[in-house]
Amino acid sequence: MDLKERLYNWWNERVDLDNLLAFLNHKTVPHHRHSIWYYVGGMCLYLFIVQVITGILLLLYYKPTAEAAYESVQYIMTDVPFGWLVRSIHSYAANIFIGLIFVHMFSVFLMKAYRKPRELTWITGVVLLLLAMGFGFSGYLLPWNQLAYLATNVGTNFAIMTPVIGDWLLVFLRGGTEVTGATLTRFFGFHVAVLPGIFTSVLGLHLLFVQRLGMSVPISIEKEISDGKAQREEMPFVPNFLYRDILGWTLALGLIVLLSSMFPWELGEKADILTPAPPHVKPEWFFVFMYQTLKYVPKTIGVFGFAIGGAVWILLPFFDRKSNRGEPNKLYTVIGVFVVIYMVALTLIGYLAPGE
C-alpha cells in the first residue's frame, strides 16, 4: 500500500470518505441554456471566502478607534508589505460581492426559482443580501475618512423613522446621539463579530437548502421537456461543473487583482467631526436607489414604502401561486423587470443628475 492509499484509508475509516465521494460523483446540476446563472451563487460564495480571508488579514493591523483608525489603514496601505493589495482586494471584492448577490437574486427571481419547494432558499437568500448590505454599511465607516463619516451620518439618521423605537435604534446604531468614535468601535463590532456570525449561520442554511433541493429548472425549460421539444440534461458536479466554477473564480481573482493594482482603493481625507456636512453626500452605491427615491417622496412614506416593499419581496414565493403550480407567470416577470429597471434608473439618476 502506498502512502496515498494509507492516508485515504485512515480518513475513510473515520469519516466514511467512500460515502462522500459516491455522493459527489453522483451529484449533478441541470444543464440547459439558462444554466450560466447557476454559477453566480458559487461566485458569491467564493467572494465571501475572499472577504473572510482578507478581512482577517486586515484585522492584524487595524485599530478600531477614532484616533487611530485612519492612521492604521494608512499604515496598512503604505508600510505593511502588500497591505495596499489586501485592503484594495477587500474593498473591491466587497462591492463586487454585493453586486453579484443582486444579480443572483434577480436571476433567481426571473427564473422563478423561488417557487415551491424552494421558498426557504429564497428567504434565506434575501436575508443574506440584507446582511451583506449591513457588512457594506458598517465596513465603509471603518477607515474613518470624511466621506464615510458623512455617509454614515446620513445613513444612520434614517433609523429615527422607525416607529416607537426610532430614537432608541439611532442611539443603538451610533453608540450615542451623534456619529463619533463610539460609532466606529460599534460598527467594527458589527462588521467583524455580529454580522459574520449571523451571516455564516444563514449561509449554512441557504447552502443546506440548495443541496437538499438541487437546482431549480426554469418553468419554460420544464415545459419544453414535458412537451418533448428538448431532452433533460444534467451535468456532473464533479468535475465538469466544479471546473467551470474554479475557472470563474480564477478569472474573478485576476479581475480583482487587476483593479486593486491599477486603481488602489483610495484612503481619502481623515474624518473631521467638526466639519459641517456638505450638501452632496451620497451613501454607498447599493443604497443610492433608496436614497434617491427619498428625494422625491416624503421621507416617512418612502421609508415605510421600502420596508413594506422589502417584506413583500421576501414573501413573494407565497403570493406567486401560478409559478408554484409550475405555470408561467408573466405578471411576476414584469414586476421583476420593473424592479430592476427602477433600481438601475434611480441609481444612475443619483450619480448623474445635475446638481445632485
Binding site: 444543464h31 489603514v73 494608512q74 499604515y75 496601505m77 503604505t78 508600510d79 495596499w84 493589495l85 485592503r87 431532452q231 433533460r232 440534461e233 444534467e234 451535468m235 456532473p236 468535475p239 465538469n240 471546473y243 467551470r244 474554479i246 475557472l247 480564477t250 478569472l251 481573482l253 485576476g254 487583482v257 487587476l258 493594482s261 491599477m262 488602489p264 482603493w265 483610495e266 484612503l267 481619502g268 481625507e269
Partner: protein, 430 residues
C-alpha cells in the same frame, strides 16, 4: 441689594476691629446724616488695591479721625494741623500719590516689584510737561487712568489700565476732537482718529476683538508714565520689542541710513502706524501695489533687487503649493503615509523665515533661504511623485500574477473541454 449691604456691614465690622482708629472716617462717611456722597467708602472697600493692602483713609489723607469721632467733631478729624490733606487738585495729584509711590522702602512692604519712578517718568512725558510747565489741567494725571477710590491693579481685567482696556482709556481724551482742540505735535494738530484706526489694525483686532493681550496696546509703543511718541529713529526700537528679527535685519540693511537721511520713520514708512495691516508679499516687488516702486524706478539697483526677491519668494510659495498638492494626493490615494507632508514642514519654515529676512533687502540673503526651501519642496514632491509612481512597480507584480492566472484559466478551459467531451449530459429514462 440686601446681600451687598450685609456684606458691607460685615466687611466694615471686620475692618473696624482690625484697625480701630480708621473706623471713625467710615462711620461718618457711610452715613448720609454726615456726608452727601456715601459711595466713596463703598467704592474703596469693594476692591481698591490700597484697601486690599490694608491701607485706610488716613494713610493718604492724614488727620486724626479717632479723636474726631470720639468727640463728635469732624473738624477735629480733618485738622490740617494733624496732617490732614484734603483731596488734591489736579495739579497736585501726582505729588500726592508720589509721597508713597516713590518711597522704595515703603513700597517694598506692599509690592516689591512695582517701580517707584512714575513721577520722574511722568515729568518727561508730554502730559507731565504740560502739567508742570503750563499748569494745564486738561492733561492726564494719575487718577484719569488709574481711578480715584477704585484703583485696580493692571492685572485686573476690570482695571482701566488692564492691557486690553488701555485703548479705551486713552480714547477718553484722545478720541475727542473738542477736547484735543489746540493740542499740537511738531506744529500740527494732533489727530483724534488713533483709536478708530487702531481698532481696524492687525494689533487692534487682536486686542479689542480677540482679547489677545500679546498684541500691543497704546502704551507698548508710546510708553505709559513717560508717554511720548517714538521719534523717527526709535520706531524700529518700539516695533522691535516684538518684531526683533525684523528690527535687526532692518538696522543692518542699506535702508537704515537712507531712511535716516530722508527722515523716514523706519518701519512706519512701509507699514503705517495705528492702522497697521497684516503684511503680505504684495508689499514687495515691482508690481502694482508694491511699495518698493514708490522710491525705486526701473533700471536702478533697488528695482532689480525688489523684483528678484519677489520672484524668489514667489517661486518658494509655488514650489510649496505644488509639493503640498502632490503629497496630499499621494496620501489620499494611500500610497504615501504622510512622511512627505511632514518633511515639507522644513520648507514651510523657510517661507516664514524669509518673510522676516526680507527686511535685509538683500537678494543674496533672501535667496539663501528661499533656495533651500525650494530644494526641500522639490525633494518632497519627487518622493510623493515616486510614491504615486509606485503603482508602476505594482503593475509588474500584477502582470506576473495575471500571467499565472490566465495560464491556469487556459488549462482549466482545456480541461473542461476534455471532461465535457467524455460526458453525456442527456438524462436517459431509467
Amino acid at each position: 441689594m440686601r446681600m451687598k449691604l450685609i456684606l458691607l456691614i460685615f466687611v466694615v465690622a471686620g475692618f473696624t476691629t482690625a484697625r480701630a482708629k480708621s473706623s471713625s472716617c467710615v462711620d461718618c462717611h457711610l452715613s448720609s446724616d454726615w456726608v452727601s456722597d456715601t459711595t466713596i467708602v463703598s467704592d474703596y472697600m469693594s476692591g481698591d488695591i490700597h484697601f486690599k493692602m490694608g491701607l485706610s483713609c488716613d494713610d493718604c489723607h492724614g488727620g486724626d479721625p479717632k479723636r474726631g469721632f470720639e468727640e463728635g467733631d469732624p473738624d477735629l478729624a480733618m485738622d490740617p494741623l494733624k496732617g490732614y490733606k484734603a483731596p488734591p487738585s489736579r495739579t497736585a495729584t501726582p505729588d500726592f500719590c508720589d509721597r508713597c509711590h516713590s518711597d522704595i522702602e515703603y513700597m517694598k512692604r506692599y509690592n516689591p516689584r512695582l517701580p517707584t519712578d512714575q513721577l520722574k517718568l511722568y515729568k518727561t512725558s508730554v502730559h507731565g510737561k504740560q502739567l508742570y510747565r503750563t499748569r494745564d489741567t486738561k492733561v492726564a494725571v494719575c487718577t484719569d487712568c488709574h481711578g480715584v477710590h477704585n484703583i485696580l491693579p493692571s492685572s485686573d481685567s476690570r482695571s482701566m489700565i488692564y492691557h486690553n482696556n488701555v485703548p479705551e482709556t486713552c480714547r477718553k481724551c484722545h478720541g475727542s476732537p473738542q477736547y484735543m482742540r489746540g493740542y499740537k505735535y511738531n506744529g500740527r494738530q494732533i489727530p483724534t482718529d488713533q483709536y478708530e484706526e487702531y481698532s481696524k489694525s492687525v494689533h487692534g483686532i487682536m486686542v479689542l476683538e480677540e482679547g489677545d493681550n500679546s498684541a500691543p496696546s497704546c502704551n507698548n509703543c508710546h510708553g505709559n508714565h513717560g508717554a511720548t511718541p517714538p521719534n523717527l529713529i526709535s520706531v524700529s526700537a518700539a516695533c522691535g520689542e516684538c518684531h526683533a528679527y525684523n528690527r535687526d535685519f532692518f538696522n543692518a540693511s542699506v535702508h537704515k541710513e537712507v531712511w535716516e537721511d530722508l527722515g523716514y520713520p523706519e518701519c512706519e514708512q512701509c507699514h503705517g502706524n495705528h492702522l497697521i495691516q497684516p503684511a503680505t508679499e504684495g508689499l514687495l516687488g515691482v508690481d502694482e501695489g508694491a511699495l518698493c516702486i514708490q522710491c525705486h524706478d526701473e533700471g536702478d539697483d533697488g528695482y532689480a533687487a525688489a523684483s528678484i526677491m519677489k520672484a524668489q519668494i514667489d517661486s518658494l510659495k509655488h514650489a510649496l503649493e505644488s509639493a503640498e498638492k502632490v503629497a496630499k494626493e499621494a496620501e489620499e490615494k494611500g500610497v504615501e503615509g504622510g512622511q512627505a507632508r511632514f518633511d515639507l514642514g522644513a520648507a514651510k519654515d523657510n517661507l516664514t523665515r524669509v518673510r522676516s529676512v526680507i527686511h535685509t533687502f538683500d537678494p543674496e540673503q533672501v535667496s539663501e533661504i528661499t533656495s533651500s526651501g525650494i530644494k526641500v519642496a522639490h525633494e518632497v514632491e519627487e518622493i510623493a511623485e515616486l510614491a504615486l509612481g509606485d503603482i508602476k512597480i505594482r503593475q509588474i507584480g500584477l502582470a506576473i500574477s495575471l500571467l499565472v492566472i490566465l495560464y491556469v484559466a487556459l488549462i482549466l478551459w482545456r480541461k473542461i473541454k476534455q471532461v465535457d467531451s467524455k460526458t453525456d449530459f442527456v438524462v436517459r429514462d431509467k
